[in-house]
Each structure stands twice: as structure tokens, then as C-alpha cells.
């Protein structure tokens, strides 16, 4: 075997891999400095600064990356505008998480370095997830994100809830990745390749046969795709792989919960979009695409999963009284909405998913910042302690209303634009032959929106309508940094709701540059 081309490919690929290299060096740097600065008084600020610098370095390298799509490392990963779009989201989420960890007290001071190092490793994993274009790389990237996330979820070692969260996360994650690996083995057996780009034609060729061999191939294909999808579904917390989500969200340190709700979820969607759209794209002039869709009607299956996910998330959220759990179920519901865009199986659908994830990042991080802010001042995440917040911290209460209504999807907030794009992408498919079920999906999503208002409004009611717990409510004095971040996010939510054009154009452009 001639190794020279492989080595050459790897060497040329490095030019497109610099952000990832920076993120690889980052955790090591943070760990070393953590030891060096062990006794220095300003450790937290310094280490956070270093972590931010690493992210900034990755951002600079990402911005200076050569133009155009490029298959790297012999097609293991794809560096293209699509991946870059998501990478920016991960960098933003990472930076916000670093800052809120530094401001808060949920992560013990002496362990901040450890946290940041692990967080940077997660961001690296997310980068790889967004650009993986090969089944093996997909598995490795998911595992990198999962392993580091297990540790971060159980970061508060003394806390029983954290321990439970980490354990549940590990067990569910282990099962999910095992199942996914099993599914991959079927796909490989069927197609003889790991590459997404070659997977579609190869599988289509395998479906050309007849008789028992065709039936076997179909079954193998269904099992393979379903099991791989299960692995991704676990990352985005889609029903029925969502059980870990509320416990982990509740038990993990809140900054990491916030990160978990936007980062890995977005990466899961990026991976799913790439996997399904580049390997099993319907409607395109791909050889045997029709036979493939007939064998595995994945858009319809994902549509059913989307409906189930949003309905379950919303209905269970109604009964929650812990804000973190409530937001966990809300994030399950939002995964359901976003899955609608995937089930549309079209360029417009992919674009709507990208837009939604970017806007969801802003509003959901904002909501979690408010939860952290209130928890830092009252020490509680219970809905009961939000009563009378409007009197104690009017600014925060108003910002929270903006986030909650944006999550509901009301104009003029960003969430409405996101939902609008999802709905329009799905609607565009209803007119087609056999697309009538998309209309049913839309009606379910619309009714879910009304249901979701009920529990979001419960928080608003607690803050504004209910009497405070104490007769003379004392004003809260949360850290100014939290307030500034919450205010900035609220302003962004309104800005993107009124002037969404930049985000839309950016997503459209990025999707146009999707390679592979």
C-alpha cells in the first residue's frame, strides 16, 4: 500500500485544521497554567482569560481559514461553510460559558482550570462533529464530546444530584453509542465504505438486487440508519432518547447545562443534516434515490419523532417546578421543532434548522443566564422563589420575559423568526405528492406552541402577578456581569426578531458552501 498520498493529504489538510489545533493545545495550556498559578490570588480571572484567549485564537484562525469546501484527512472531515457556521456557534457558546463560570460560584474556585480545560475539549469535539463526513469520524467526535460531558455533568462531586446526573448520562450515553456503532457496522457491511458521500450511491447499488437478498439489504439498511439516528437522537435529546436530559440538566453546574442545551444539540443537528442530506438526500438527481427513500422513508420517521418530541417535552414541562428541569423539557420540545426542519429534507429545511439553532442559542443561553443570576442571589432554582421577582429585580424579570416569549415563538422576538422558517420549510413540502402528512405535523407544532405558552407564562406569572414570598420583598443584588450579559442577550433577541436579515443571509451562504 502506497502511504505517500495519505501522508501528503494529511499534511495539506493541516492548513484547514488550525482552529482545531488551537483547541487541542488549549486544554493542555490551561492545565499547565492551572498548576503554575496554583497559589496565585487571581487564578480564576487569569485562567478564564486564558480560556477566552484560546477561543479567540480559534476564532481568528477560523476567520482566516482558506475559502471553499475541502475534504480533509482523506475525506474523514469536511471543512466547508456549513461546518464553519456551526463552529462560530460553538465558539460563542463556549465563550459565554467561560465568562459565566468565572462570574458565578457554582464551580469551585480551585477547580475552574479543570472545568475550562474540559470545556475546551468539548468545543473541539463539537468542531469535529460539525465537520465529520465519515462514519468513523462521526463516532469518534461524538465520543469525545460525550466523555468530556460526563465529567462536566458530574462536576459537583459532593452533590447527590450531580452524581446521579453523571451516572445516568454515562449509562444512557454508553448504550446510545453502542447502538450507533452497531448500526454503523450494518451500513459498512452494506456499502463497504465509511464516507458519507459514497454511502448513498453504494447503498443504492446494494438495493438493486431482487428476491431475498433485496429484502435482507432493506432490513439491514433500516436497522443501520435507525441505529445511527438513535446515536444522534441521544445527543439532541429527541424522544425516545431524552430520558437523561432533565436529570443531567438539573444536576450539572448551570453554566454547563446552558452550554449543553445549545452546543451539543446544535452539533447533533449539524451531524444529522450532513449525514442525511449528503448520503440519503431525496428528490435530488441521485442514482437510486427513489429506491432508497422507499426502503427507508426517513423524512416521515423523523417527522413522527419530531411530533412526539415536541409534544412530550411541552406536556411534561407543564408539571415542572424546578427551573432547570423546566428548561430541560423545554429544550426537548425545541429539539422537536428543529427536527421538523430536518424532516423537510430540503435545502430550505436545512437552512431553517441552522437559523433556528443560532437564534435558539441566543434566547436559551439568555434564559439560563437569568436562572444563574437568580440562583446566585437567592440560592434557589425553584419556581416558587421567582414569585415577585418583578419587584425585587425588575430589569432581570423583564429580560426573562423577553427570553420566554421568544422561546414561545411570539413576534417581535427572535424565536418567532426561527419558528417561521421552520414552519415555512415544512409547509413548502405539503403541496407535493404524498406530502399531506407535513400539514398534520404543522398543525401539531402550532398547537404545541400554544401549549408551551402555558408553562412559559407560569414563570411570567410568578414573577409579575404573584405576590412575593416575603411581605416586604428585598431587592436582589446579583453580580453586575450577569445583568450585563442578560441585557445583551435580551437586546440581541429583540434585534434579531426585528432585523433577522443578517442571520438568514449568513445561514443561506453557509449552506451554499456545504461540500460533500
Amino acid at each position: 500500500m502506497d502511504l505517500l498520498p495519505l501522508v501528503e493529504s494529511n499534511l495539506t489538510s493541516l492548513a484547514w485544521f488550525r482552529p482545531e489545533l488551537a483547541l487541542t493545545a488549549g486544554p493542555l495550556l490551561v492545565l499547565v497554567l492551572d498548576l503554575v498559578w496554583r497559589r496565585s490570588p487571581g487564578r480564576v480571572a487569569r485562567l478564564s482569560g486564558v480560556a477566552l484567549l484560546v477561543l479567540a485564537a480559534a476564532a481568528v484562525l477560523l476567520a482566516g481559514q482558506p475559502e471553499g469546501g475541502q475534504a480533509l484527512f482523506n475525506g474523514m472531515i469536511q471543512s466547508d461553510g456549513f461546518a464553519t457556521y456551526f463552529k462560530w456557534l460553538f465558539l460563542a457558546a463556549g465563550a459565554v460559558t467561560v465568562v459565566v463560570v468565572a462570574l458565578g460560584s457554582e464551580v469551585a474556585k480551585e477547580r475552574v482550570g479543570e472545568f475550562h480545560a474540559l470545556l475546551l475539549a468539548v468545543v473541539l469535539g463539537l468542531f469535529l462533529m460539525a465537520s465529520a463526513s465519515d462514519l468513523l469520524m462521526m463516532y469518534l467526535a461524538i465520543e469525545l464530546v460525550s466523555m468530556t460531558s460526563y465529567v462536566l455533568a458530574g462536576f459537583r462531586r459532593g452533590d447527590r444530584r450531580a452524581t446521579e446526573a453523571a451516572l445516568k448520562y454515562v449509562i444512557y450515553g454508553g448504550v446510545a453509542s453502542g447502538v450507533m456503532l452497531f448500526g454503523m457496522s450494518y451500513l459498512y457491511g452494506l456499502a463497504g465504505t465509511f464516507s458519507f458521500a459514497e454511502l448513498g450511491p453504494a447503498v443504492a447499488a446494494a438495493l438493486q438486487g431482487s428476491g431475498p437478498s433485496l429484502a435482507a439489504a432493506r432490513l439491514a439498511l433500516v436497522v443501520g440508519i435507525a441505529f445511527v439516528a438513535a446515536g444522534v437522537g441521544y445527543k439532541i435529546a429527541a424522544v425516545p432518547f431524552h430520558m437523561w436530559c432533565p436529570d443531567v440538566y438539573e444536576g450539572a453546574p448551570t453554566p454547563f447545562t446552558a452550554f449543553l442545551s445549545v452546543g451539543p444539540k446544535a452539533a447533533g443537528f449539524a451531524l444529522a443534516l450532513r449525514f442525511f442530506l449528503s448520503a440519503f438526500r431525496p428528490r435530488e438527481a441521485q442514482e437510486g434515490a427513489a429506491a432508497l427513500l422507499e426502503a427507508v422513508p426517513w423524512p416521515a420517521v423523523i417527522g413522527v419523532v419530531a411530533a412526539a418530541t415536541m409534544t412530550l417535552g411541552n406536556l411534561v414541562a407543564i408539571a415542572q417546578t424546578n427551573l432547570k428541569r423546566l428548561l430541560a423539557y423545554s429544550s426537548i420540545a425545541h429539539a422537536g421543532y428543529t427536527l421538523m426542519g430536518l424532516s423537510a429534507a430540503s435545502a430550505a429545511g436545512a437552512q431553517s434548522v441552522m437559523i433556528y439553532l443560532a437564534l435558539y442559542l441566543v434566547m436559551n443561553l439568555g434564559a439560563f443566564v437569568v436562572v444563574m443570576l437568580v440562583a446566585s442571589a437567592t440560592g434557589s432554582e425553584s419556581l416558587l422563589d421567582y414569585r415577585g421577582l418583578a419587584k425585587r429585580q425588575p430589569f432581570t424579570a423583564v429580560a426573562f420575559v423577553v427570553f420566554l416569549l421568544s422561546l414561545t415563538g411570539l413576534p417581535p422576538f427572535a424565536g418567532f423568526i426561527g419558528k417561521w422558517y421552520l414552519f415555512t420549510a415544512v409547509w413548502a413540502r405539503t403541496g407535493e405528492a404524498g406530502g399531506g402528512w407535513y400539514a398534520v405535523l404543522l398543525v401539531i407544532a402550532a398547537l404545541n406552541t400554544a401549549v408551551s405558552l402555558y408553562y412559559y407564562a407560569r414563570i411570567i406569572r410568578a414573577m409579575f402577578l404573584d405576590a412575593p414570598n416575603a411581605a416586604e420583598p428585598s431587592p436582589l443584588h446579583p453580580p453586575l456581569g450577569y445583568q450585563l450579559i442578560a441585557g445583551a442577550f435580551a437586546a440581541a433577541v429583540i434585534l434579531f426578531g426585528v432585523l433577522p436579515q443578517p442571520v438568514i443571509a449568513w445561514a443561506e451562504q453557509a449552506l451554499g458552501k456545504m461540500g460533500g
Partner: protein
């Protein structure tokens, strides 16, 4: 300042600008070292200025409007979100200009009714408008809404006004939807924070009902967009689809939506019609979606009831006439019979429910349900008199029902209850009040010479040739309307004066300022309905051209 191209933006955004100033005032309070009282008064002045400017702009727009054509006028048209062909497109035709004027008037009246000023010391003390509430231990009650968290109240009231005005002037479906939803939140808070004992329940019920309807509407809007033909945008480019309601109406008249692919075997036009209609019917409110209304009204503070009855309910029929009628003409004809039946149910059923009410505000709320039934019946007939009567009824009911809620507020501010049975002989203690109540009740029951009579008469005469039986039943049920109003007057004002109400102050200037202008308009329109009819006529005749079953 007011040019034809910007007048509607002034009317829409003047309240929003005032709301922003109110927020600024609150933010700057610690810096400027203002007292709470100064901030409250500043917020009140800003609210009066904002809604006053909006009213002036609405009147100016009314005067600029040329009623002799059916064209859209006072247009402002620019691109907003290019990626989706969404435009900032404002304009009015005969239908919307009447609603713009109504919104301006009612918003300003509601703002006046939100002031504690001009009340007189005794009335203010009775109403609990003083700091710390009312001191009489025999009648404990909370502070009046007009002195509670004033800046927040005023900012939300102004935001609500922007949403209402915007809904009536938007001619882009997306923009319409944005304004439509913008109204929900202030309404939720205004009922939920400043409302009566069951305010939380009433507020969330209103919010959920309306949102459930509007998400269905959203789906229909997206569907209409995707089934529209290419059209020109404000910039001159051609877009594949459009949200432009004027262009969509043109395409609707040409049968564009009848050609859309069916969904799950149902015709697209019928599905879109039903989705839109449910969204609007919840707002009307039409039986069986009306149950949120009595709760919202009973718990809402008086000015919010005024806005709810005066303007918000009109958005239902307005939406039907703006979307369903011009865009989905075939489906509208298909559904006309059903609309008439629902209208009849509204009229008769709600009238009977009124008879059983013990609470004055609940009675008025149900009477609104009943009166909106006339609009539905007139609309369904699609005759010139029927449709004009329907829209005139929106206008007259928009003047009369705010009067009714204001008079209910007057007695509640004094007695702190609204139970009809517990009053008696009030005419002796409050003669001026009794006269105004008489005027508003008689206007509402359709006494000739007052505004309500003209619109009811036109609806009956327009609907009679098409729905003869329904019209006869509806006309007979007017007797029930007369019965519940007269019976209420009888129980409240006649007979021996209940000594508990001895010495109550009569109307004060705050109440006069809000009630008399409305009363004057009710009387003027009763003799000269042409003032409104001549403006709305041409637009409505074009709207039903070719749809009339006769």
C-alpha cells in the same frame, strides 16, 4: 409633520415612542433623583401625549382619506426582510380607516379613564386612588389600578395601542401577524397585574385562547404565501410569492388560490378559510369560542375592558373581511350559511345568558357577544346593506360598549361591587349617572335615534332577503335585549334608594371627559350615519362584488 406617506406610521408608533420615554423615565429616576410621584405623573402625561398624538394622526388620516374610491390610500411601502419578500406596507381603505379612527378615539378615552386626576377628593377616596388605599375599615379594598405601578401600566397601555393601530393599517400579512401578536402580551399583563380577584386565571385564559387561534392563522398565512403568484416588491423586483394583501386580494379575485394543490384530500381554500376563521372567531368572540371574554372583562380594569370591547373584538370581523372575503372568495360563499348560523347563535344565546347575569360587567360582556352576532349575520348575507350594516355595527358597538364598561366602572369605583340586585334607587343619589347609563343602555338595545339602531336595522334589512328565518329570529330576540337592559335599569336605579349608597358623589370630570364624547358621537351617528357609511361604502361594495347570492 403629517404627510400622507407617514401619517399611518405616526398613528401607529406615537404610542410606542411614548412608551419608550416612560421606560427611559423609570431608568433615569435614580439619576435624576425624581420622586415616585413625579415619575407617576410624568408617565401619565406621556401616555396622554402619546395616545393624543395617535388620535390626532388618526383624525388627520380620516380627513385625508378620499371615500369616493375603493383604493388603498395613505400608503407607505418599503422592503423589510428581503430574504422572505416581507415588506413594511401600511395603507388604509374604507374598511380600515373607520377602524383606525375608532382605535384612536377609544385608545384616548381609555387613557383618560386610566388617570386618577380630575376625580374630586371624595370620589378619589371612595375609589381608593389615594396612597395606601381607602381608609374606611367597613369597606376594605385594594388601591385603585390608576395609582398602582403607574409607569408599567402606562407603558403597556401604550404598547397595546401600537399593536391595535398597527393591526388595522398593516397590509402585509407578516406585518399584520406581528402586530396581532404584539397586542397579546400587554393585554396579559394589564389584566393579570391590575385586574380583579381572579385576574391570573382570566389573563392566561385570554392569552391561551388567542394564541391557539393565531397559530392556526399563522399556518394559513404561510399557506397563502406559498400559493400566491409572483408579484412585484416595493423596490421594483419581482418575487416568486408575496405577503402583500392588496396583491393577494387581486390574485384571490382571479381565483389563484382555488388552483392550489389540495392537502390530504381537502381543498386548500377551505382549509385556509377554516384556519383563519377560527383564529378570528376567537377574537370576535364567536360561540363556542366566547368563554374567555366574560372572564377577561370581569377581571380587567375599566379602561382595559373599554379597549377590549371597543377595539379588540373588532379585529375578528376585520380580519375576516381583510383575509377570508377577498382572498378566499369561493370558500367564503361556501361558509356563508355557517357564519350566519353562528351569528344567530351569538345573538340569541348570549341575549338569554344576559338575562341570567347578576354581575353588571358580566351582563355587558355577554351583550357584546350578542351584538357581535349582528356583525356576523350582516357579513354572511353579503348584500350591500348587510355588509355596510356589519361594519357600521363594528363602529357603533365600538362606541357604545366602551360607554357601557365605563358606566360599570363608575359604580364599581364607588360601591366596590357590581351586583345588580344589591343596588336600588340610585337615580335619586346619582341623577347624572343615571342619565348617562340610560343613554348607553338605550343605545345598546337599539333605540331609534341612537347609533345602535341604524346598524342593527341595516343588518336586518340586508340579511332579510338572504336569511329570512334567521333574521326574523334575530329581530325578535331584540326584545330580550330590551328586557335585560330595562330590567337592569329597573333594579339598579328605580325604587327606594338603598341607604348604603346615600351620599355617593355623582359623575366627576374624569368620568365626564371619557363618557360625554362617546355619548355625543352615539347621538350624532344615530341621526347622521352617513358620516361613516360614505367612507366605508365603496370599499365594501367592491369587496362583495360578485359574491352576493342575490
Amino acid at each position: 409633520m403629517f404627510t400622507p406617506g407617514s401619517i399611518l406610521s405616526w398613528a401607529t408608533f406615537a404610542p410606542l415612542a411614548a412608551a419608550a420615554l416612560v421606560v427611559l423615565l423609570v431608568v433615569l429616576r435614580p439619576i435624576l433623583r425624581l420622586s415616585r410621584r413625579a415619575v407617576d405623573d410624568g408617565a401619565r402625561l406621556l401616555a396622554l401625549a402619546g395616545s393624543g398624538l395617535s388620535l390626532l394622526a388618526a383624525i388627520a388620516a380620516w380627513r385625508m382619506f378620499d371615500g369616493s374610491t375603493d383604493q388603498v390610500q395613505l400608503v407607505q411601502h418599503v422592503t423589510w426582510i428581503r430574504a422572505f419578500n416581507i415588506e413594511y406596507f401600511l395603507g388604509v381603505d374604507g374598511l380600515s380607516i373607520s377602524m383606525v379612527l375608532l382605535t384612536g378615539i377609544i385608545s384616548f378615552v381609555a387613557t383618560i379613564a386610566s388617570m386618577p386626576w380630575w376625580s374630586g377628593a371624595r370620589a378619589a377616596e371612595l375609589a381608593g386612588m389615594v396612597e395606601g388605599g381607602h381608609q374606611d375599615p367597613a369597606h376594605p379594598h385594594p388601591q385603585h389600578f390608576s395609582v398602582r405601578a403607574v409607569p408599567g401600566y402606562m407603558a403597556l397601555l401604550l404598547l397595546l395601542q401600537t399593536g391595535m393601530m398597527g393591526t388595522f393599517v398593516a397590509l402585509d400579512m407578516f406585518l399584520f401577524y406581528v402586530f396581532w401578536e404584539v397586542m397579546l402580551l400587554p393585554m396579559y399583563f394589564l389584566i393579570g397585574i391590575w385586574g380583579g380577584p381572579r385576574k391570573e386565571y382570566a389573563a392566561i385564559k385570554f392569552f391561551l385562547y388567542t394564541l391557539a387561534g393565531s397559530v392556526l392563522m399563522l399556518l394559513a398565512i404561510i399557506g397563502l404565501y406559498y400559493n400566491s403568484a409572483p408579484a412585484e416588491l416595493a423596490g421594483g423586483d419581482t418575487a416568486a410569492h408575496t405577503f402583500n394583501l392588496v396583491e393577494l386580494a387581486r390574485q384571490g379575485a382571479a381565483g389563484q388560490f382555488e388552483r392550489a394543490a389540495p392537502i390530504l384530500g381537502f381543498a386548500f381554500t377551505k382549509l385556509a378559510f377554516v384556519a383563519l376563521f377560527i383564529g378570528f372567531a376567537i377574537k370576535i368572540p364567536m360561540f363556542p369560542f366566547h368563554t374567555w371574554l366574560p372572564d377577561a372583562h370581569v377581571e380587567a380594569p375599566t379602561p382595559i375592558s373599554v379597549i377590549l370591547a371597543g377595539v379588540l373584538l373588532k379585529m375578528g370581523p376585520y380580519g375576516i373581511l381583510r383575509f377570508n372575503y377577498p382572498l378566499l372568495r369561493d370558500a367564503t360563499q361556501w361558509a356563508a350559511g355557517a357564519i350566519a348560523v353562528f351569528g344567530l347563535i351569538n345573538i340569541v344565546y348570549a341575549a338569554f345568558v344576559c338575562l341570567a347575569q347578576k354581575d353588571l360587567k358580566r351582563l355587558i360582556a355577554y351583550s357584546s357577544v350578542s351584538h357581535m352576532g349582528f356583525t356576523l349575520l350582516g357579513m354572511a348575507a353579503m348584500t350591500p346593506a348587510g355588509i355596510s350594516g356589519a361594519v357600521l355595527n363594528m363602529f357603533t358597538h365600538g362606541l357604545i360598549s366602551p360607554m357601557l364598561f365605563l358606566v360599570a366602572g363608575v359604580i364599581y369605583d364607588r360601591a366596590h361591587h357590581r351586583e345588580i340586585e344589591r343596588f336600588g334607587g340610585l337615580a335619586q343619589a346619582l341623577p347624572e349617572y343615571a342619565a348617562v347609563v340610560g343613554l348607553s343602555f338605550f343605545a345598546s338595545l337599539g333605540l331609534p335615534g341612537l347609533a345602535g339602531f341604524i346598524s342593527e336595522f341595516m343588518v336586518f334589512s340586508g340579511a332579510f332577503p338572504v336569511f329570512t328565518t334567521y333574521t326574523m329570529v334575530a329581530a325578535i330576540s331584540v326584545v330580550i335585549t330590551a328586557a335585560y337592559y330595562l330590567w337592569a335599569i329597573h333594579r339598579m336605579f328605580l325604587g327606594k334608594l338603598n341607604p348604603a349608597y346615600q351620599g355617593y358623589p355623582d359623575l366627576n370630570w374624569r368620568e365626564r371627559l371619557s363618557l360625554y364624547p362617546l355619548g355625543a358621537m352615539v347621538i350624532v351617528l344615530g341621526f347622521y350615519p352617513q358620516a361613516v357609511l360614505s367612507v366605508i361604502g365603496n370599499t365594501l361594495q367592491t369587496l362583495i362584488k360578485g359574491m352576493s347570492p342575490l
